[in-house]
C-alpha cells in the first residue's frame, strides 16, 4: 500500500505522519503543496497537522486552494482514502471533503495535552482495528478545534454513523463531543487529535498505532 504525505509551508507533523504510515507497512511518498499530482498508485493521502500558511485568513483555507488540493480532490472523487489530522482536518473541511468547520476553542486557549478519545464507530477502514467504544489516550494540540455543524448536518452524521471519534471530556466546545468525522463513502477521515503522536512507547503511548495498522488491513480487504 502506498501513502502520500503532503507538506504545506507551516506543516509540522508531516514527518511524524510519514513515520506512522511507514511503521504500519505503507510505502510513503512525500508530496509538496506545489505539486500538481500524486504519485501513481497512491492509496491514501495524509494531510498533516501544523499551521499551513500561518493559519492566515482561516485555518486551512489557503492550503485548501493550493495546487496539490486539486489532486487530493480527484483522488477522493475516485474513492481514494484521505486522512486529515488537526490542521489536515481543517484543510479537508475547507476543501468541502468533510462537512462542518473547526472554530476557535470555546475556552479561547490553545489546548495541548493528552486526552481520552472514544471510538464511535468501527465501520471504516480507519477505525476497524479498534473496538467500539474503546478509550484511547491521544494528544491534542490545537487552537481551532471546536467542531461546528448545523443541526441538519449533525443529524445526518449521526444517522449515517459517520462520527468516528468523540472526546471523553470535551476540551474545545465541539458539538456532540465530536473529535473526528468520516465522509459519505467512509474513505475520508478528519480528526483533531494526533494518532501519529501516539505511535511509540518512548514518546508516551501507542494508542494511535492501531489506526494506521487497522487502515493497512482495512484497505487490503476493501
Amino acid at each position: 500500500m502506498k501513502a502520500a504525505v503532503v507538506t504545506f509551508p507551516g506543516s509540522n507533523c508531516d514527518r511524524d505522519l510519514a513515520v506512522a504510515f511507514e511503521r504500519a507497512g505503507f510505502a510513503v511518498n512525500r508530496v509538496w503543496h506545489k505539486d500538481t499530482a500524486l504519485s501513481a498508485g497512491t492509496d491514501v493521502v495524509g494531510v498533516p497537522g501544523g499551521f499551513s500558511f500561518g493559519d492566515y485568513l482561516r485555518c486551512g483555507a489557503i492550503a485548501a486552494q493550493s495546487p496539490i488540493a486539486a489532486a487530493i480532490q480527484a483522488h477522493a472523487a475516485r474513492g481514494g482514502y484521505v486522512l486529515g489530522i488537526c490542521n489536515g482536518f481543517q484543510v479537508l473541511t475547507e476543501m468541502r471533503l468533510l462537512p462542518g468547520v473547526l472554530m476557535r476553542n470555546a475556552g479561547l486557549k490553545f489546548a495541548c495535552k493528552t486526552i481520552e478519545l472514544k471510538v464511535a464507530t468501527t465501520a471504516s477502514a480507519f477505525t476497524q482495528g479498534y473496538d467500539m467504544g474503546q478509550s484511547l489516550m491521544i494528544p491534542i494540540a490545537h487552537h481551532d478545534g471546536s467542531y461546528t455543524i448545523d443541526a441538519e448536518g449533525l443529524a445526518r452524521l449521526r444517522a449515517e454513523d459517520r462520527i468516528a471519534f468523540t472526546y471523553g471530556h470535551n476540551p474545545n466546545g465541539s458539538m456532540a463531543d465530536i473529535a473526528g468525522v468520516l465522509s459519505e463513502n467512509r474513505r475520508v477521515l478528519g480528526m483533531m487529535p494526533h494518532p501519529e503522536r501516539a505511535n511509540d512507547p518512548v514518546l508516551g503511548g501507542t494508542d494511535g498505532a492501531g489506526l494506521f495498522q487497522g487502515l493497512m488491513r482495512g484497505m487490503a480487504l476493501a
Partner: protein, 79 residues
C-alpha cells in the same frame, strides 16, 4: 477600483471571541454592551474599472476563498 469586503459569522453561530471582548468591555467598566460580534474587513485593489464586473469578481472571490459560507456571510462594497 477598490472593493471592501466585510466577513461576519452568520447569525446563530456562536462567536467565542466576540463574547470574550464583551466580557472584557464589561470588566473595563463599559456597561450596557449587550453583544459583540467580531468579523474581518478585507480591502481589494482591483484592476477592473466596471463596477458590476468588479462586484461579480469580488463575489466569486468570497465564495471561493475569502469567506467560509458554512458559517460566514459577506458583504461587498465597491468604493
Amino acid at each position: 477600483m477598490k472593493a471592501r469586503i466585510t466577513v461576519m459569522l452568520k447569525a446563530g453561530v456562536l462567536d467565542v471571541q466576540g463574547e470574550a471582548v464583551r466580557h472584557a468591555l464589561g470588566a473595563l467598566g463599559f456597561p450596557g454592551v449587550n453583544g459583540v460580534r467580531q468579523g474581518k474587513v478585507i480591502e481589494l485593489d482591483l484592476a477592473e474599472t466596471d463596477k458590476a464586473a468588479a462586484e461579480a469578481a469580488a463575489k466569486a472571490m468570497c465564495e471561493k476563498l475569502l469567506a467560509n459560507t458554512v458559517i460566514e456571510s459577506y458583504r461587498i462594497e465597491i468604493l
